[in-house]
Symmetry: C2
DNA sequence: TTAGCATTTATAAAAATTTTCATATGAATT
DNA sequence: AATTCATATGAAAATTTTTATAAATGCTAA
């Protein structure tokens, strides 16, 4: 979508005001193509990361395996709450899981995490 | 905080289970230092970014100035809603602002944005 | 200077997320 | 086999975020 097309979508008064402004200050070129869409996945990733508990989990598990009860202890949170957040992270493929007896160990999936961070840079910088 | 200290914080049964497991599978070293804290600012940044409208604004304004009414048109959202989100973004210093007559133009503060993305990489990768 | 317009601000309503609590599941110890 | 323990799940409650509505600001053009 070009700036010109957006401008044409405004009501008459607004359009006149903006046109006049752009004519005098030349702050914006009408022929520029405007991109607003971010990948749905990327937004979802950022949302997952935006919770301090989930972000803390990813940081803590970036270079080690830990079982659920130790994760809960480290973050000083109820185990069932941690379980919920682990599920969310797993849902985005951001964790590896490994079972040892009745314990479950998790570790950050750094490949996947890096993929998202690179997407972020590409889209916004 | 070391893994050993976390372990000592568990109740006796749990501690025994975990100790026995670690003794046999050697998946985790008790002497490792565990880091869980992310910078408060960084989390706030990620939260700001986690809304699709705000992320869309940052993408659209990464290389141009646009006035509020055109931003609203481009995202096909009510102008007052856009104003709210602009305020949030301004509050994190993620936007430059410029007034031309009765219009207000915004543009992404790429320096600041880059700063946060770099923090993110440093903390999580 | 006044009337109109672009935008902001305040506040209330709606929607989404997080947390808690009760219960389920599956492995291991007894 | 029965019980216990670590973790998972689901639904309800609490909290936060987003959106909508109404009123206020401040610039400008007439």
């Amino acid at each position: 979508m070009k700036v010109r097309e957006l401008l044409e979508g405004l009501n008459e008064k607004q359009r006149r005001t903006v046109q006049r402004c752009l004519a005098s200050c030349e702050i914006l070129d009408l022929e520029e193509e405007v991109e607003t869409e971010l990948s749905k996945d990327l937004i979802e990733f950022v949302k997952v990361l935006s919770n301090p508990i989930r972000a803390g989990i990813l940081k803590m598990l970036k270079n080690r395996w830990m079982c659920v009860c130790l994760i809960a202890k480290a973050l000083n949170q109820d185990q069932t709450l941690i379980s919920h957040h682990l599920r969310t992270l797993k849902g985005m493929n951001l964790l590896h899981e490994r079972r040892e007896g009745k314990l479950r160990f998790y570790r950050t999936n750094l490949e996947e995490l890096k993929k998202y961070v690179e997407m972020l840079e590409k889209e916004l910088l």
